[in-house]
């Protein structure tokens, strides 16, 4: 349905807009004939044309003005449409004037109409074009509003994903387990207990500090992951081993904060800590031209229950990479024979 027809208030306003046009037409024709005759002919006719002009809206939607459509073709379509609309209007006007002659012969409406037929045809065509232009404006306005709304929605979505990511960042069980380790160490090794307290405090402070930034260096992100791993090593002992291969070109790149840390956390929580004999987490970062590649690989128990598989954190990571980098960012997850590997590729950015 036409957007003007579908809303009673809008329709009222639209018809009210046609009133001055009707009055103008009446004034223009009243020189030759009487006022009442001109008014009787043109006021109803302008209302009729108001409805005819609404068809310009459909025309504008079928022939949008954009790069793909030929301007000539669109212009031709509008000339033909205006001529047809005006011709129909003239036809209706002729019939109406004839009817008026029968109802009120004294007005001489038919004669007055016939005299000015050509002029009225031209005015009708021009009015139809005006209606087309207004419709194009309306369409453009709607499109820009929609684009704005979509942009707001997208930024909200991004923000939401970011917030969720940050909130999910500090796993409460990690805290409880760490506190339990501290509780255990207080009697057997007070110095180690204190060191663990400090590590934990540093980790929490850094998580909050880095999380507030838009971009941080990969080196900072790795430093945070190191603190996390150091805390987990207190808990897991020699079961947790880590190797890292990074080149300085890669660590200088900028990344969204807390993008890689959750991967390392997954590797511990769902990988190494689920193995009796533990294992080695391999972290690698490299820069190849415009792309930064970060890889976290860990051994895992292939027979572990499905509910223990790292789903949520990885989904969040994918969402973040997509919202921040679009098609330029990819997250590749592989599991094969007890090895779990996540590879993140994003555009390499460096600090200005």
């Amino acid at each position: 349905m036409h957007p003007i027809l579908s809303d009673r208030r809008r329709l009222g306003l639209y018809l009210l807009g046609w009133l001055p046009i009707g009055l103008l037409l009446t004034a223009g024709l009243s020189e030759r004939t009487s006022w009442p005759a001109a008014a009787a002919v043109f006021l109803p006719l302008s209302i009729v044309f108001a409805f005819i002009s609404l068809n310009a809206g459909y025309l504008c939607r079928v022939f949008p003005i954009d790069a793909r459509a030929g301007i000539l073709r669109t212009a031709f379509v509008h000339v033909v449409a205006a001529a047809m609309a005006s011709a129909i209007w003239i036809g209706i006007g002729q019939a109406w004037a004839g009817a008026l002659d029968l109802l009120a012969p004294g007005l001489q409406a038919g004669a007055a109409f016939a005299e000015r037929r050509l002029l009225i045809f031209v005015v009708g065509a021009l009015l139809f074009w005006l209606a087309s232009i207004l419709h194009y404006l309306l369409i453009a306005f709607e499109a820009s509003q929609q684009a704005e709304r979509r942009a707001i929605e997208l930024s909200l979505l991004t923000r939401d994903a970011e917030l969720k990511a940050l909130r999910a960042q500090i796993d409460p069980h990690f805290l409880f387990n760490s506190l339990h380790s501290i509780s255990a160490l207080t009697t057997v090794d007070p110095a180690a207990a204190r060191r663990m307290c400090l590590l934990l405090a540093e980790f929490l402070r850094e998580t909050l500090r880095l999380g507030a930034n838009n971009r941080i260096s990969l080196a900072d992100e790795f430093a945070l992951a190191d603190r996390f791993l150091e805390i987990e090593r207190v808990r897991l002992g020699s079961r947790l081993q880590v190797t890292r291969e990074t080149d300085p070109q890669a660590t200088a790149c900028l990344v969204p904060p807390l993008l890689i840390q959750p991967l390392v956390e997954n590797a511990v929580v769902h990988g190494v800590s689920q193995l009796v004999e533990g294992g080695t987490i391999r972290i690698a970062a490299s820069r190849g031209g415009p792309t930064l590649t970060i890889k976290v690989e860990n051994p895992c128990d292939p027979d572990r229950p499905r509910r223990q598989r790292a789903g949520l954190g990885l989904d969040l990571l994918k969402k973040r990479v997509v919202t921040q980098f679009g098609a330029e960012g990819t997250v590749l997850i592989e599991e094969d024979a007890g090895r779990f590997c996540v590879e993140v590729r994003i555009p390499a950015e460096v600090a200005a």
Partner: protein
């Protein structure tokens, strides 16, 4: 003297967490720690061999979680769960744990839990047969089947199962050419398995639908399921109806 002390086994994969329990339990002269285990497999082995009175059991552990350990060792040991995760509390009481300690906990909180354990052990309360697996049954569909072979434990993810065959009170689990015997009836297992994957094709057989290669008509109405590895299994008339329903 040693007969009257509470024979206790500590199960936790973290050395420090075992250390806390050790330290706190030292204050309770009636408690004797007879073993410490670092994973679920060890726990099943030790509990089966030593038959302790009390189990202090972590939940999140490699290989077998605390609930799986309990399922494998049966119901005649008193259990206190010790974990950092609060979301298993309801399930813990379903399997009749006497208490549920959240890490980190105080010596007083552990003492409280021990009081409850003493009361249960003194009353020689046994967990009624079947209740442990009933608690387990709420968490269907089953993701893996646990089989205890004396003190050894086999963990078989359900997607690796080819088919199950009834052998009186046992079920033989066929996976990649190997056979494991589980002490459970086929009907019980059928209830626990994912209905979209496992179908009872015969009074004696449950088939993993992913293994089905084709169905052949033998004599008259009798059909035979041919598995990807060539194994042939009979299909009963009602089994065929269920199979058709699933393949629809």
């Amino acid at each position: 003297m040693s007969n009257t002390r509470i024979q206790t086994v500590i199960v936790d994969d973290e050395a420090l967490a075992r250390g806390v329990l050790h330290e706190f339990l030292a204050a309770h002269v009636d408690v004797e720690i007879v073993a410490e285990c670092g994973n679920g497999f060890e726990a099943v082995k030790v509990v089966t061999e030593m038959r302790p009175d009390l189990l202090l059991l972590d939940i999140q552990m490699p290989k077998l979680d605390g609930f799986e350990v309990l399922e494998l060792i049966g119901g005649d040991v008193t259990v206190i769960f010790v974990t950092a995760y609060d979301q298993y509390a309801i399930r813990a009481f379903e399997v009749h744990a006497v208490d549920y300690l959240l890490k980190p906990f105080s010596a007083e909180r552990l003492a409280e839990a021990l009081d409850r354990a003493r009361a249960r052990i003194a009353a020689k309360e046994k967990v009624p047969e079947g209740l442990v697996s009933a608690g387990r049954a709420r968490h269907t569909p089953l993701e893996r089947i646990l089989i205890r072979d004396r003190a050894d434990v086999h963990v078989i993810p359900v997607d690796k199962i080819d088919y199950l065959e009834s052998q009186d009170d046992y079920v033989s689990v066929k996976t990649a050419g190997k056979t494991f015997l589980k002490e459970q009836t086929l009907a019980e297992l059928e209830m626990l398995l994912d209905k979209d994957v496992f179908v009872r094709i015969h009074r004696r057989y449950i088939l993993n639908i992913a293994r089905l290669s084709k169905i052949e008509l033998a004599v008259k109405d009798n059909r035979i399921a041919i598995l990807a590895d060539g194994t042939k299994l009979p299909i009963s008339r009602s089994g065929y109806a269920r199979l058709k329903e699933l393949l629809k």
